[in-house]
């Protein structure tokens, strides 16, 4: 197992799109912070952050899209592409059980995804604090907020990564994975709400799912019960989807 993880990690660190996404996020964090800095709020500027924590909060809002779209792209090029290049054959015929192969792949993908999800908020917080000073928030202490934000970013991105990874395992082609993944995240909230209007329990499920949690993960005021749920539910989701990935991959014929 550790061999598989090492190998997957090696491949991830040599994956172009991984570095491309990281570089793009790095760049946009820097540009975003400086734009906010140069944009004067009293002069009708739209960007009104005045502290590092403000920066973090607004970065967390943008980060939901990064998580959803960025991970789809990464999954397409890190997971699905293995089918089209034929390298999945190399792995499957290498004497490891399929479950191990796909668990290793999904775990490393989840790890990489967490990194991707952390880059933007962490950079915004760091650069913002340098530019404006740390600042404070009304409902919560600074340390608690930072830890909670980053912690939930980790758990939620892990959960989303597992969902995307399952899509990537099922489809044999990077393009399909990216397209279907993005469409899925674009419509899924609406679908849940629509069905929820007729079946209340679906709405309940939605409320407790990570799909909804990600909309609130940067709230300054959060009951500790919600915070714990936001940490536990994505992890549980990740475990379920990895298991589903194993199930799908075990009966998949590699073309």
């Amino acid at each position: 197992m550790s061999n598989l993880i090492r190998s997957e990690w090696y491949k991830l660190t040599r994956n172009r799109s991984f570095w491309l996404i990281l570089a793009a996020l790095f760049l946009s964090a820097v540009v975003y912070c400086f734009m906010t800095y140069l944009d004067d709020p009293s002069d009708g500027g739209a960007l009104d952050a005045t502290s590092g924590l403000d920066m973090l909060r607004s970065a967390m809002g943008g980060n939901t899209y990064i998580i959803k779209i960025g991970l789809c792209v990464l999954a397409g090029f890190f997971v699905s592409s293995e089918y089209s290049t034929g390298t999945m054959k190399r792995a499957v015929s290498s004497g490891y059980s399929r479950s191990r192969i796909i668990v290793a792949k999904m775990l490393v993908f989840i790890g990489g995804s967490v990194l991707v999800a952390l880059v933007f908020p962490v950079l915004c917080l760091a650069i913002g604090s340098l530019l404006f000073g740390g600042g404070s928030l009304p409902d919560v202490s600074a340390a608690e907020y930072v830890i909670r934000c980053l912690g939930l970013t980790v758990t939620l991105s892990a959960g989303f990564a597992a969902i995307v990874a399952l899509i990537a395992v099922i489809f044999n082609d990077s393009g399909k994975t990216i397209g279907i993944g993005i469409i899925f995240f674009f419509f899924i909230d609406g679908v849940f709400v629509m069905i929820g209007n007729h079946l209340p329990f679906v709405l309940k499920i939605y409320e407790y799912s990570l799909l909804n949690e990600i909309n609130h993960y940067a709230d300054t005021a959060m009951a500790s019960r919600d915070a714990v749920l936001s940490a536990v539910i994505p992890v549980a989701t990740a475990i379920v989807f990895v298991a589903l990935g194993v199930y799908a991959f075990r009966r998949k014929e590699i073309k």
Partner: protein, 300 residues
Amino acid sequence: MLIGIAAAAVLTAAFCLLRLAAVRREVRSFAAQLGRYNRHETASKLSVGLSDRATEALAVEINRHTELIAEANAERRRTEDELRQAVANMSHDLRTPLTSISGYIQLLESRELSAEERRAALEVVKKRTNRLQALLADFFELSVIESVDYALKPERVALHKLIPEILMGFYDSLNEKGLNPTFELTEEAVDIYADESAVRRVVENLMQNAIRHAEGELIVTLSRTERHAAFTLSNAAPGLKGTNPELLFNRFYMADRSRSGSGSGLGLSIARGLMLKMGGSLAAKLQGDNLVMRCEWERI
């Protein structure tokens, strides 16, 4: 503060224990894999399952060891094959002259022959017998040279004096063959530390071989570089084009398989054997249509 230290200590201890357990498992896995290899259940080498430099280095060395054993086995198989082939070739080489001898003997026994015919038949028998003798002598010499205990008597040899002297002896046979060789022999002193009779034998064998096969041009050179003395023979050998000239030193290789000529075909093998024993080298190269034989000794 104290709690922090305690927690750190517990974590460190836990990490070390886990690491130890992982290393132990890795070592057990090596043992299991080697066991399977030693019981001939598999021929595959060790694989590692832990990212650890020390155990990985151990696995590398174990695999190298396995490889050495495999190589030794392959080498043994190869020498066995060679020996088998050698015996087969030798009996083949002996068979042809023997068949002809016994044929002539039958002829002598069965027919009323004139004295003239009788003499001719006996002549053939004698020639074939001589050839057999030469062949056996060469086989024997080769086996002696190649044996580990065979020792030469090295002394100071002045090549610039010895080689012209040996070449003089070929004057007649060169003329007979109509060869007009070019000699490029250095006049400077070329001293080496070698066995004189072995050097003589090498040069003679190379010359004989060249005279037997050369067509047209033959260039004989003796030269010296800073550290080496080189004796080379170069002659046109269009027949060898596209073959590996190194095969010429194979003791059972003859450009004409029938070995109908007067030589045993072992002259070059013997020459190389002697050169190696003297610590020198003998190599054959094809340069265009030319076959170049080059002997090198270290100068003193």
